[in-house]
Amino acid sequence: VQFGAFQHSCSNKIYLLLVRSVSVDLNNDASLVIDIPDALCERDKVKFTVHTKTTLSSFQKPEFSVPRQHEEFIWLHDTIVETEEYAGLIIPPAPPKPDFEGPREKMHKLGEGESSMTKEEYAKMKQELEAEYLAVFKKTVQVHEVFLQRFSSHPIFRKDRNFQIFLEYDQDLSVRRKNAKEMFGGFFKNMVKSADEVLISGVKEVDEFFEQEKTFLLDYSSKIKDATAKAEKMTRSHKNVADDYNHISGALNSTAADNNTAFKKHLEKYAEVFEKLRKLEDRVASDQELKLTELLRYYTRDIQAAKDLLYRRARALADNENSNKALDKARLKGKDIAQAEENQKQCLQKFDKLSESGKKELTSFKARRVVAFRKNLIEMTELEIKHAKVRRLKCCVYHYMFTRQCSGSHGKPGNLREF
């Protein structure tokens, strides 16, 4: 069930959108269920309500909620990334920052042009603005919610102390924020940059499984990036078409306003048709974005996280090779052999651990990806069919109305409702 409510006060603040989203597959385990039932948007800041229901004894209460801002989600992500133990796991990608630039611009225009607009125009623009906010909201809540559910559904992550703090601690986490970001933010970026190079030209792979995964992930990564970009363009075109319908409707209304002949009523009806077309086109565009474009965006990030895992393992492999060489050298020289042996043992352990854990992660990653694609493709298709049927019906109704219409009289609205 999804619904939204919107208020706009004159002091330029937007208050809350109540969005309850349904993400089924990551909430299968009833022992720890997380969702974001609502969020509040105030100027730049979004406050998500993170709601937890759990039967685990490690938590103080069985059900509780805390407000969290986007930055706190990033803190959680960075903290997990830095945790050495998790090197062999795919770290769920950080959710992107909520982007309200589009609607914010529109609100600005609304505020500026308020005096020059008619009451109807103002009301209409306000409605469009609300719809845009709602769309952005849905997206950002969904992606933040999925982020948390990745942790809660993972056997190792769900036990993480920082994750628990994130869920439970009812004060602001900002105290810890800066350190983590400052220390590791830039460094992490550099790591990611050279990751591909290491993967491609790295040490010789000994394991067939990882060799295949590497080839697959490198190729898939570029393809899904491309598909995301193309999907974005497609969605934007839909929005442009919807915009054009909007302008056409407005122009028809203006023409009708100046007219005092029989033509006037016709023009107003045509304006109504185009307004309906606009609404439907908008809905198609936003559903396509939510189900298709967002899916592709998410998995582009997730593929990157998988590549990062491969990278860490490749580093461990290189370290392992180096430690072997160092041991041989030490034996040759007859110096520091024990130290070199210890180092080699640790590197091998680390590498083995990463390989074992990595294999499991990458296998379940594929399963997860397939499930997500399946769900979203089905939902997208069902929505497309639904919208097409609604559009067909509406066009039929108008068609019927116009073909029945004699000059001067109108079709009976009562009949149309039955139709």
Binding site: K230, N240, D244, N259, T261, F263, F373, E384, L393, H399
Partner: protein, 451 residues
């Protein structure tokens, strides 16, 4: 000077009963049992609409102007088709087949087929404009041979020459508009155009082009602007209508620009959909899970088909709505032109009055001089100018009467024209949605089959 013999009429304007008006009894009512209605809606709970192929073939669109007229009194069907290249090299041109089917008695045959080239259409328009515009008839604008490309943000307004099929469509619409007008239908030039196998070559195509006519219209407008004495409009109807047409001109242009934007973005949507389809196919190839890979390839196929739908829809957007608006923008120019012609006529009448006054003064002066032959000449000139003034007044009355009737007809026609186009457009949309439903319903099991 009184500007009109008719008083202002209440809207909507009914046609004056004019014995020359063949369409006095034409009604717009489409009976519920009329055949095209049945074709459109079936009895089932989800109405099925016969798919309308949206391509710019003229015969698809000529029906739009005929089928909604009462068949008994307006029975003429025109189609422009089969463009074919005639001749070689520099002198080569496109010839179009113009077919007229009619039972009207003014035509010598029931069905006649002639070959015409594009400049012939322009020639016809030029002749009609020069004959009828100055007496207040709204002459349909000539078909354009090129369109100024989408005037949008980044796109430069390049002039695109239309392809032969598109031109055929525009020529057909031009002819239909022309024959819908009672006075023009009877015009010998129109009859000759439709019927005679040989037509004298229209010369000097520059003068005949849309731009040439525009220049003629502008000359009238200039004449009006240069009038030293502004016409004292005692008839509020003309003042009101003129203002309305000024406003309508501005608004239709804006509307037209919005529709051109729609066409542009729809084409862009088509391109982006095709591009996404390719990308999805590549992603499907890269995907190592078999069932998902298959589904992605199928998604790519669906998107490719949808791309085609978008292209078809863009065609409908253009050929139905954009062109209708383009036509009307040009028609409004013609309407404004006849209003200007009326002013010009008034000015001529005024000039004649001034001249008459001068001649009378001259005669009065000569009364006291003693020049009998000059006096006679003056008296003759007075008679001459009295005649001119009377003729001028008659002309002015006639053009005013014609304009009132023409504007009434125009206002009635536009309701019909727009409605017909919207109906066809809705049909095209329904067709598109039917196809979309079909494609996505075929894809759904594929998506569900991902295991």
């Amino acid at each position: 000077i009184s500007s009109s013999s008719n008083g202002p009429k209440a809207e909507p304007m009914l046609l004056d009963h004019d014995p020359d008006d063949l369409f006095a009894e034409a009604t717009e009512e489409v009976s519920l049992d009329s055949p095209e209605r049945q074709m459109i809606l079936s009895d089932g709970p989800s109405p099925a609409i016969t798919p309308v192929t949206i391509n710019p073939r003229a015969d698809v669109f000529d029906l739009s102007f005929v089928s909604h007229e009462n068949r008994d009194t307006f029975d003429i069907q025109i189609s422009v088709s089969d463009p074919e290249k005639v001749g070689d090299g520099m002198n080569a041109y496109m010839a179009y087949k113009v077919t007229t089917k009619t039972s009207l008695s003014i035509f010598s045959r029931d069905e006649v087929c002639v070959k015409r080239r594009f400049s012939d259409f322009l020639g016809l328009h030029s002749k009609l404009a020069s004959k009828y515009m100055h007496i207040g008839y709204i002459v349909p604008p000539a078909p354009e041979k090129s369109i100024v490309g989408q005037r949008l943000g980044r796109r430069s307004s390049a002039v695109t020459e239309l392809d032969p099929d598109a031109k055929a469509c525009l020529c057909c619409r031009y002819l239909l508009r022309t024959v819908k007008q009672p006075a023009l239908l009877k015009d010998p030039d129109v009859l000759q155009f439709l019927e005679s196998s040989e037509l004298p070559r229209a010369v000097s195509t520059q003068a005949l082009s849309g731009a040439g006519i525009l220049r003629m219209v502008n000359k009238a407008a200039d004449a009006v602007n240069k009038m030293t004495i502004k016409m004292n409009e005692s008839d509020a109807w003309f003042e009101e209508k003129q203002q309305q047409f000024e406003n309508l001109d501005v608004q239709l242009r804006k509307l037209h620009a919005s529709v051109e934007s729609l066409v542009f973005h729809r084409k862009e949507l088509s391109v982006n959909t095709a591009s996404f389809a390719k990308s999805a196919a590549m992603l499907g190839n890269s995907e190592d899970h078999t069932a998902l890979s298959r589904a992605l390839s199928q998604l790519a196929e669906v998107e490719e088909k949808i791309d085609q739908l978008h292209q078809d829809q863009a065609c409908a957007d253009f050929y139905l709505i954009s062109e209708l608006l383009g036509d009307y923008v040009r028609l409004i120019t013609a309407v404004k032109g006849v209003f200007d012609q009326r002013m010009k006529t008034w000015a001529k009448c005024q000039d004649a009055q001034v001249m008459l006054q001068r001649k009378r003064e001259a005669e009065a002066k000569l009364q006291h001089a003693n020049k009998p032959d000059k006096l006679q000449q003056a008296k003759d000139e007075i008679r001459e100018w009295e005649g001119k003034v009377q003729q001028g007044e008659r002309d002015f009355e006639q053009i005013s009467k014609n304009i009132r009737r023409e504007v009434g007809r125009f206002e009635k026609d536009r309701v019909k024209d727009f409605r017909v186009v919207i109906i066809k457009y809705l049909e095209s949309l329904v067709h598109t949605q039917q196809q979309l439903i079909k494609y996505w319903e075929a894809f759904l099991p594929e998506a569900k089959a991902i295991a």
